[in-house]
């Protein structure tokens, strides 16, 4: 039986898609959300470290599964290999209702004003496609505010002198510092830095009908057992469903956006839970499947006017994939500083996001999430024993003395770091899979060297010994949970995929509403920005909807 035609079909129930679905349904549009995963909870994997979204050695807790999904990695020499979702290099993002927002560490950052004007501030380094966003921070500000209040953020930007301007404070008070953060705060002030509490999409007080945080150490990488973490699955998606206008279809794997002979989106072809091929027609389509899968879906949507994929006549779909080059320093304190209070990360510093001579941007620094026991076996100074009694002794005597400060370096986009579809390899449903290729820009490593040096300086001031730094290499293509940039928004169709509202150039009823739009990815965890973009795109569609006249074929 044919599916009933709706006003909008949204692909992906994550940070961007969940928000967009709510905005559209509240504006009176009938909406179908297609989500490849399903509803999941803490009970599905409990606090099992080996099947979490942070340590995936025995599988991804919240998908995608290794049995039905795969990708191809293309190395610099042109050779390829197949990678499974739980393996390194796949660049996994959770496949479930809420996507990464179910199990994330839940930092709720606004990007800074400068992050939207990178090219104007720094020029364009050779070998890069660095550019300004077509929108300013000021234009997006009210969307950040909606995300903070409708989803829930605990924080106090008044303590951060580098914070961008805001009209309303964050809705919940910030979390207090743990012992590690109290030590770091004093040291940072002695150095003239500006410490402040990390804004968190997590309840510091009861909010949104959900209780306050109980501080699990198994927080980052896990679902919350009491729903104190604020994701789209426990906020905007239930709100969308409550309108009565939105239907969420889980286990629905999108294969193709249907584009007709006149170049208009007609709906989405997908496979349902029983692997049956289905078509959902709609007046407009919103793709929010994460930077890698959104690009794949567009590239797999070939039509007469778009033989290389929807919106891809200028070969920009899938280009410029970014994540974050994580960098920082670790050290050991003389005394135990461990506190049984998860998730651990609670203090941050924005002193090194911008304005360092010779560097394009930088990174926020913060103390780290508690490393669980297996993950911690890899946290060692260079040259330390990798096994045997000495390794065990380190684990026993040093785990609770670890002090760590890390941050996400804003990556400089590279045109050839990209998502394509593989000409041969297909997934369980016969859909061509992603082929990833390229590597980071060398400047990312320069920034990381500087920022990790600052982290080491802080640890030294805090009294740590045995300090060592982590500086990432060029790696393969970046991405992972912070993946972004593959369907860049811009004002010139020749050098971008969508306009400033996420509307695909030349297909005016096809929208993107996820991190794919990010021209640059900030020196911050991008979840709140992706949520803000969900509001931004959703509000534009709602405004232009005009009872449907605007998008009728």
């Amino acid at each position: 039986m044919a599916n009933k035609h709706v006003n909008a079909v949204v692909v992906g129930a994550g940070a961007g898609g969940g928000v967009a679905a709510k905005v559209l349904a509240e504006a009176g549009l009938s909406v179908v959300v297609l989500e490849r995963g399903r509803w999941q909870t803490w009970a599905d994997h409990d606090d099992d470290e080996l099947i979490s979204q942070r340590t995936t050695v025995l599988g991804n807790a919240f998908g995608p599964d290794d049995a039905r999904h795969r990708r191809v990695i293309e190395h610099a020499d042109g050779s390829t290999r197949i990678v499974l979702p739980s393996e390194g290099g796949y660049g996994n993002n959770a496949a479930c209702v809420g996507s990464g927002t179910l199990s994330y560490g839940a930092m709720g950052w606004r990007f800074m004003e400068q992050d939207f004007r990178m090219r104007s501030l720094y020029g364009c380094p050779e070998g890069s496609t660095l550019d300004d966003w077509p929108i300013t921070y000021g234009e997006l500000e009210h969307c950040y505010e909606r995300a903070e209040w409708e989803i829930g953020v605990a924080g106090d930007d008044a303590q951060n002198p580098f914070a961008p301007p805001r009209k309303k404070p964050q809705p919940m008070p910030p979390f207090p510092y743990n012992k590690e953060a109290r030590i770091l705060e004093k040291a940072a002030r002695r150095l003239g830095w500006h410490p402040f509490p990390i804004p968190m999409l997590r309840n510091s007080v009861p909010y949104g009908g959900r209780p306050k945080c109980i501080h699990m150490r198994s927080c980052c990488g896990f679902a919350c057992p009491i729903n104190a973490k604020c994701g789209t699955q426990n906020t905007v998606i239930p709100a969308a469903l409550a309108t009565g206008l939105c239907e969420l279809r889980t286990d629905a794997v999108a294969a193709e956006v249907m584009v007709d002979e006149r170049g208009r989106a007609k709906g989405v072809v997908y496979f349902d839970a029983a692997d049956r091929r289905q078509a959902q027609t709609a007046d407009l389509v919103v793709v929010a499947a994460s930077a890698t899968e959104t690009a794949r879906l567009l590239l797999n949507s070939k039509s007469k006017l778009f033989p290389n994929g929807a919106g891809n006549n200028n070969d920009w779909v899938g280009r410029n994939i970014q994540g974050h080059a994580y960098t920082g320093a670790c050290g050991l304190m003389a005394e135990e500083i461990y506190e049984e209070a998860g998730p651990g990360a609670c203090i941050a510093f924005c002193d090194f996001n911008h304005g360092m001579p010779g560097l394009c941007g930088g990174a926020m620094l913060a103390n780290e999430f508690i490393p669980l026991p297996y993950l911690s076996t890899r946290i060692r100074p260079p040259g330390a024993a990798r096994w045997g009694l000495a390794h065990k002794e380190f684990q026993r005597s040093s785990y609770k003395r670890l002090i760590r400060v890390q941050g996400p370096v804003q990556e400089i986009p590279v045109f050839d770091s990209r998502v394509r579809v593989d000409p041969e390899v297909k997934d369980h449903w016969g859909i061509p899979v992603v082929r990833l290729s390229g590597r980071r820009h060398p400047h990312d490593v320069e920034i990381a060297k500087f920022v990790s040096g600052k982290a080491a300086e802080l640890l030294r001031e805090a009294g740590a010994s045995d300090i060592w730094t982590n500086v990432p290499g060029l790696g393969g293509p970046s991405g992972g949970q912070h993946q972004a940039g593959t369907c860049r928004m811009g004002s010139d169709p020749k050098t971008s995929v969508t306009n400033r509202y996420g509307q695909v150039h030349e297909i005016d009823n096809l929208f993107i509403a996820d991190g794919s739009l990010n021209v640059t990815n900030g020196g911050f965890n991008p979840a709140l920005t992706i949520m803000a973009l969900g509001y931004w795109v959703g509000e534009y569609i709602a405004k232009e909807w005009q009872g449907g006249a605007r998008f009728k074929g």
Partner: protein
């Protein structure tokens, strides 16, 4: 422990095994007894590993995380963890284990003229150090590579020791206890500071 189980293959192998078991206290760092603080280590049956392979894996794992004042890999059941995963998510590594364990045994024979389990503790360490540094007879280690296989055994042993007991290792939360981490955490009963995190 089930003496009969491992003794089917050959009398020689069996005698070697018995000798290794008897010498365990003398050879192991800190004298890893087969019956430890956690009670007897599980003895199979194993789903993927042969009894001989299981004993070898167990001996290697014990070198990677030796028993001392706290339990080591043997007591924590790391071999059970590994065997169970080889029949599940690590089925993709099963062939590599089969070939790698045979290469490891050949290396032991080449270096010291004995099976790995029969070696004195310091000689076992030397075999693994040779693998870890890649300084092994090249003709033995064509596939998998010595370092590659050692890293696999190392990672899997660490996972068995430090991961959740539901997968067969970390018996009695041995590693959590060693690290001073409370477990199980019962919501409302553990000491969660109201003021931090």
């Amino acid at each position: 422990m089930a003496k009969s189980e491992g003794c089917g293959a050959s009398r020689r192998a069996c005698l070697k095994f018995m000798a290794a078991a008897a010498g365990g206290a003398a050879a192991g760092a800190g004298g890893a007894a087969l019956v430890g603080r956690l009670g007897p280590a599980p003895r199979g049956p194993f789903g993927v590993l042969t009894p001989e392979e299981a004993r070898l894996v167990e001996a290697v794992a014990e070198q990677i995380i030796p028993s001392d004042k706290d339990p080591g890999a043997r007591e924590a059941g790391c071999v059970t963890f590994i065997d169970r995963q080889l029949g599940g998510p690590y089925a993709k590594f099963a062939e590599k284990y089969r070939r790698g364990l045979a290469c490891l045994q050949k290396t032991s024979e080449a270096m010291f003229g004995k099976a790995f389990e029969a070696l004195a503790w310091p000689d076992q360490t030397r075999v693994l150090e040779a693998m870890d540094s890649g300084k092994v007879p090249k003709e033995i280690w064509t596939d998998p590579g010595a370092r590659e296989f050692f890293n696999l055994l190392r990672d899997h042993t660490m996972q068995g020791f430090y991961g959740s007991p539901r997968h067969g290792g970390n018996r009695g939360y041995a590693s959590y206890k060693m690290m001073g981490l409370e477990y199980p955490r019962v919501i409302g009963q553990n000491r969660y500071p109201e003021t931090a995190g």
